[in-house]
Symmetry: C2
Subunit: 228 residues, 2 copies
C-alpha cells in the first residue's frame, strides 16, 4: 500500500498544488493510497524522506519525495495507463509543470495569500508568517492581498492564455483525455479553490469549462475536496 | 515543388517568426521549396490564398495559409519524419506555439519595435506606422523602444523561464531532437535576431545554448540568415 503525506490546514483542508498533482497521478494510474495529513511545521513526519516539503510517498520499501520524482517513479513502477509513454508526453509534462510552477502559481500567490494565512493551523501561523512574509516583504497578508487583487485577478486570467488557446481546440491540455499537464495546472487551481473563496475565472472562459471537467474527474476527486 | 511566401524587409532580411516556423517545418520534413519574398504591403502577391498575412504556401495545387495549418498540412501530406505522430506531440506543439504567440512575442515586440521599423522597406514604412502605431499607441518607435528596454530585457528573460526549466533537463523542448515546440520558440527569437542587434540572452542561460543549437540546425539555416 502507498502512503501519501499531504499538506493539511485548518478543517483538514488539503491545499498543496504539488500534493494534488500526486493525487491525480495516483488516480490516473489506478492506485489506492493511505493518506497522512502533515501540517506546515510537522517536519518530523517526513524526516524519514530527508524532505522538508510534501508530497512524499512511501511505496512499499521505496520512499520518494517531490511531485515530479513521484510521478516518474509511479509511471515506471506501475505500467497501467502510462503518463510518459513517449518523449513528447514527457516533454509536454515538463513544460506545462514548469509553467505552472514559475508563472501560474506566482501570479496566484499574491491574490490568495491572505485567505491562505487565515486557513493555516494556529500552530503553523508563525511558520507561515516567517516564510511567506519573507517572500513578499510583509506579514500584513490581508492588506497585501487586497492591494494585489485590484489588478491581480485580470492579470491572472491573462497568464492562463497559453492553456486557453489549447482548450479552445481540445478537451484537455493532453488531448482528448487528461494527463500530467492537466494535473499540473489543476493542482495550481485547486490550491486557490481550497484556500480562497475568490472567483478566479469567468464562466465563458474555456479554462472554466476545463476546470469543471477536472473537478469531476475520478468520481469528483477535486469537487469533493473541502474548499474555502 | 512547394513555394513559400516569406516576409521580406530591407536588404532581403526575413524576420517573420511565423515564416521561420514554416521554414523549419519544411526542413524537418526534408522538403525543398522555392522562396518568394513579400513586403508588408505586397498583399496582391498572396491574394490568391485569401490571406492578408504570410506564411502562405503553394504545394502543387494546394494553397495553405497560417503557419499552424501549414505544419498540419505538411505533416499529413508527407509521412517522412512526423511532427505530430501522437496526441502528446500535437498537444505539446499547440501549447508551446500558443505560449510563444501570446507571451514571448508580446514581450519582445516593445524592445525591438524601433529596430524593426528601421529595417522595414521604405515602401512599407507608412503601413508599419499605421498598424504597429495603433498597437502601441505611438509612432515614435525609437522612443518607445528605448523606454521599454530599461526593464524589458530582464522581464523578457524571466518570461522564458518555462523553456529554461525544460532545457536544463534536455537538449530540445521536444526531447533529444527538435520538433515543432522548438521551431515555434526559435521563430520568435529569430525574429528579434534578424530585426535587432539587441543582446537578449546571457551566455550562461540554458536558453542561449539551445538557441545556438537551433541556429546550427539544418546546416545553419538560422545562422546563415542575414541578421541585424
Amino acid at each position: 500500500m502507498i502512503t501519501l503525506y499531504d499538506l493539511a490546514v485548518e478543517g483538514d483542508r488539503r491545499p498543496s498544488p504539488y500534493c494534488w498533482r500526486t493525487k491525480y497521478v495516483l488516480k490516473h494510474k489506478g492506485l489506492a493510497w493511505r493518506d497522512e495529513p502533515v501540517g506546515f511545521t510537522e517536519k518530523e513526519k517526513i524526516a524519514f524522506a530527508q524532505s522538508q516539503t510534501v508530497p512524499v510517498i512511501h511505496d512499499g520499501a521505496t520512499v520518494v519525495k517531490d511531485s515530479w520524482a513521484i510521478a516518474r517513479h509511479l509511471d515506471e513502477a506501475y505500467p497501467n495507463n502510462p503518463l510518459f509513454a513517449n518523449e513528447a508526453a514527457l516533454s509536454h509534462a515538463r513544460f506545462v509543470a514548469g509553467w505552472a510552477d514559475s508563472v501560474v502559481q506566482p501570479a496566484l500567490f499574491p491574490i490568495i495569500v491572505g485567505d491562505l494565512y487565515e486557513r493555516v493551523r494556529p500552530a503553523d501561523q508563525a511558520y507561515f508568517r516567517e516564510t511567506r512574509g519573507k517572500r513578499i516583504g510583509t506579514t500584513d497578508f490581508a492588506g497585501f492581498q487586497k492591494a494585489a487583487r485590484d489588478k491581480g485577478v485580470v492579470a491572472f486570467r491573462t497568464v492562463l492564455e497559453p492553456a486557453r488557446r489549447v482548450l479552445k481546440e481540445q478537451a484537455f491540455l493532453a488531448g482528448a483525455k487528461p494527463a500530467y499537464p492537466d494535473y499540473a495546472l489543476a493542482g495550481s487551481l485547486l490550491w486557490a479553490h481550497i484556500a480562497s473563496p475568490l472567483v478566479l475565472l469567468e464562466p465563458d472562459d474555456p479554462v472554466y469549462a476545463w476546470r469543471e471537467r477536472m473537478l469531476d474527474l475520478f468520481d469528483g476527486l477535486g469537487r469533493k475536496a473541502k474548499a474555502a
